[in-house]
């Protein structure tokens, strides 16, 4: 409608407890423009989107839609100002048909409207036709393909004809063909004169679609410009790839076990309709340190959960030659394959010491005390914090405690899922040193999942790259730094 509709954000700040999730964020999107907001997992880009939409309240800063200050408003009012959001996870009404789900978005926010406007039906059908849902109008969401569910979300968002459209990872979980069709649709929405803010993990996947890119890291803006400029930006390269990568790999031939400790053979996993892993094969020798590198959503956590026995899968996972299938998750963990989950999952109301004692439940008191002493040497900060509740620790300290608790179980194979998630660079260094000590002083086997390459490579003996549910590269860290890194960004 009005020309020049746009979104303007200045000084936007959000804290969660002691953690600053978004710091002094500034961005602007003009009508008829797509701005790509990129950053690694935990960088705060989804929070920025929620702050704009009013789902979270900003602690400071300004959000202007068409020049109107909306920061701190409830989201239904911001929606009425002309903002719409497409959530990453589809959340349709399951008892209603596709058509009714779209009609919902067309209803006015009035209690007196007991009968729908007769035009609603025609408008809902037109929107469905535009996003390509005409064939499935009368079906229930549960019977639809994954891409169609995403289309319902887009249909609902554009039903309100938003001038500012926020898209949260619109391509996650889609095939290449579906991604192309979605890109087409999104550029059409831009050509209607909307301001589009698109969140994604890396520049590569959105480079052709977006007009400009803004890169974030740990809550702050680190670069802005065209996709090419941002990809060439030094800070961005350092965040994604690390500055100069130092590697200290031991050649695979130095591990003398004839059967690798862990073999993942042709494993596939589906979440309903979305394929999370596709014919993935990796192996880890006893004593080896293997990193699986991949962006958020690539399938790392799924792979680890399959190994830990949390998920059904096709294919084979073997430990020292014997299949793990059929063993319960608890049994797999007790026998020495221990995972540190991405979410940390500490008992936040218990003290540091109690968390560690809990990890050492199956050990004798003497053994347990000895293990705790060793861990306090490995992570000295935990000794100081013994009596503090785990929830009051900083993010980095919590991560150390998570690893320490896992080590209390004396694992043969330690699986670390994104230990750097949301941590500041200085903390990464401490964590990195602790891992190095672990690697040099014990015979432990480690499988590390990371999107932060700087953190993943220095300790690794071998690296796998996981992309869109598939292993696309395998090799030594040195050659990754030389070659594969470019494609990764």
């Amino acid at each position: 409608m009005a020309a020049g509709a746009h979104l303007e954000v200045n000084g936007l700040t959000k804290r969660f407890g002691g953690l600053v999730a978004v710091k002094e964020m500034a961005l602007g999107v003009r009508a008829g423009e797509i701005l790509g907001l990129i950053g690694p997992n935990g960088s705060g880009k989804s929070t920025v989107m929620k702050l704009i939409m009013g789902i979270e309240r900003p602690d400071a800063g300004s959000v202007r839609i068409n020049g109107v200050e909306v920061a701190g408003w409830p989201s239904h009012k911001i929606a009425r100002m002309g903002a719409g959001i497409v959530f990453q996870h589809s959340r349709p009404l399951h008892r209603q048909t596709v058509l009714e789900n779209i009609k919902l978005a067309l209803l006015p926010d009035k209690l007196t409207r007991l009968f729908a406007d007769p035009q609603t039906d025609a408008r809902a059908r037109a929107i469905a036709a535009r996003v390509g849902l005409s064939a499935v109008l009368d079906r229930r969401p549960a019977t639809l393909a994954f891409a169609d569910l995403r289309k319902i979300e887009i249909a609902k968002a554009i039903a309100r004809d938003p001038q500012v459209l926020l898209l949260d990872e619109p391509f996650a979980g889609l095939t290449a063909k579906e991604t192309a069709a979605f890109s087409e649709l999104i550029s059409e929405l831009r050509d209607d004169g909307r301001a589009v803010l698109l969140v994604d993990h890396n520049v590569k996947s959105v480079a052709r679609l977006v007009d400009r890119v803004l890169a974030m890291y740990v809550g702050e803006r680190i670069a802005e410009g065209t996709a090419d400029e941002v990809m060439r930006n030094e800070t961005v390269r350092r965040v994604y790839l690390g500055g100069s990568l130092e590697t200290a790999a031991r050649p695979e031939s130095s591990f003398r076990d004839s059967t690798p400790f862990l073999e993942v053979d042709n494993v596939s996993v589906h979440y309903g309709k979305a394929q999370a892993l596709e014919n993935v094969s990796i192996h880890v020798h006893a004593g080896e340190f293997v990193s699986v590198v991949g962006l958020n959503g690539a399938g790392k956590t799924t792979l680890f959960n399959a190994i830990s026995g949390f998920l059904p899968y096709s294919g084979d996972i073997r430990r020292e030659g014997a299949a793990l299938r059929g063993q319960s998750a608890a049994a797999i963990a007790r026998r020495g394959i221990v995972q540190c989950p991405e979410g940390r999952e500490l008992f936040t109301d218990m003290t540091v010491r109690e968390n560690l004692d809990l990890g050492g439940q199956h050990l004798s008191p003497v053994e347990s005390a000895g293990q705790i002493g060793w861990l306090f040497d490995l992570f000295p900060i935990l000794r100081e914090r013994q009596k503090q509740a785990a929830g009051t620790l900083s993010g980095g300290e919590q991560q150390m405690l998570t690893i320490a608790r896992a080590l209390m179980m004396k694992p043969k194979l330690l699986i670390l899922d994104e230990p750097t998630l949301g941590l500041a660079p200085v903390i990464l260094e401490q964590l990195s040193k602790a891992l190095e000590r672990l690697r040099q002083t014990t015979a432990i086997t480690v499988l590390l999942g990371e999107q932060n390459v700087t953190f993943a490579l220095p300790h690794a003996d071998r690296v796998y790259v996981l992309e869109h549910a598939r292993i696309v590269w395998e090799g030594e860290p040195a050659s990754f730094a030389a070659g594969a890194g470019t494609g990764y960004l």
Binding site: H76, R91, T143
Partner: protein
């Protein structure tokens, strides 16, 4: 297509109601009395289902709304003897007022706290009734000087048609655009807000409607029974029975709630020879139905399966 289905359901329900209205020709006054109570309970359960099944809020205190309506009507009649319809209107309005006072702060809290707030409200009302015994009759109960009618048949028909009209209104509402927005608010408040819907406003409206029908039904029940007591109208166990009736009948169906109420009251009557065991058996049966048929009796009958 939707409105056609709604009309068909209402037409079918009307047929059942018309048949039920001829029951006094065949059955005894005793059974009519049981059904009369079952129909009022049906309204309680339907009003509760609007809140839980659609707005997604678990109200553990349906009896707070019912009790407020019932006691307001009863006390008013006791003190001033105005025409009964004045007492009924006053009861319904008092329940709505009480509902708003309760819901405004309660809807601001998330998760299980809404339910806990409503639970505490019941305890407060219960204590108030006991403490203000000179006004409310306390633990002994309140006796009202008037009843609507002493004829079993008249009382039965009033309850039946009151239930029919309430059910038609609540059911149509649940199938209307407002009902759709309510469901969206209940299932995913964040997304409903992002689509431009004022979630609190819609949930509050649902609470008010629920309170209105609960309070009115409570007041009518007082003028049928001639008494009001904590044990029959306010106690937590009464609230639990209403909830069981609604879930048993089939949540998110509105009409199933009536089925559940009639079933509960019919079963406890049929099992009366078991003495103290009867309640145990009824609740055990309810538990089995809820566990095996999460869509309730109505779901069992229509064979509908709910995805997700």
């Amino acid at each position: 297509m939707r409105s056609f289905a709604t009309a068909r359901v209402l037409l079918f329900a009307l047929g059942v109601i018309v048949v039920a209205s001829f029951l006094p020709l065949w059955v005894t006054g005793y059974i009519l009395g049981l059904l009369t109570i079952a129909y009022y309970f049906g309204v309680f359960a339907m009003a509760w289902d609007l809140l839980f099944g659609f707005a997604g809020e678990v109200n553990f205190g349906p009896t707070f709304l019912i009790g407020t309506g019932a006691y307001t009507a009863g006390i008013l009649d006791n003190l001033y003897q105005p025409p009964i319809w004045v007492c009924l209107v006053a009861g319904a309005l008092a329940a709505v007022t009480g509902g708003v006072v309760l819901a405004l702060p309660a809807l601001r809290v998330r998760g299980p706290y809404f339910g806990l707030t409503t639970l505490v409200a019941v305890l407060i009302l219960q204590n108030f009734i006991v403490v203000a015994a000179s006004l409310t009759g306390g633990e002994i109960g309140l006796t009202v000087p008037d009843v609507i009618s002493i004829s079993d048949t008249t009382n039965y028909e009033i309850a039946l048609w009151f239930m029919a009209v309430s059910g038609a209104i609540l059911f149509s509402l649940s199938r209307s655009p407002v009902g759709l927005i309510l469901q969206a608010s209940g299932q995913d408040a964040v997304q409903a807000g992002a689509l431009g819907f004022n979630v609190t406003k819609h949930k509050l409206a649902a609470f008010i409607i629920s309170a209105f029908f609960s309070g009115l039904a409570g007041a009518l029940l007082v003028f049928y029974l001639g008494t009001a007591s904590v044990g029959t109208l306010v106690d937590i166990t009464v609230g639990v029975q209403i909830i069981i009736a609604a879930v048993l009948g089939g949540r998110r169906t509105i009409l199933g709630a009536v089925l559940g109420s009639v079933f509960l009251i019919a079963m406890s009557e049929a099992l009366r020879p078991l003495g103290d065991l009867s309640n145990f058996v009824v609740f055990a049966m309810a538990l089995i139905v809820v566990l095996l048929f999460p869509n309730g009796l109505l779901g069992m009958l229509t064979g509908t399966k709910e995805p997700g």
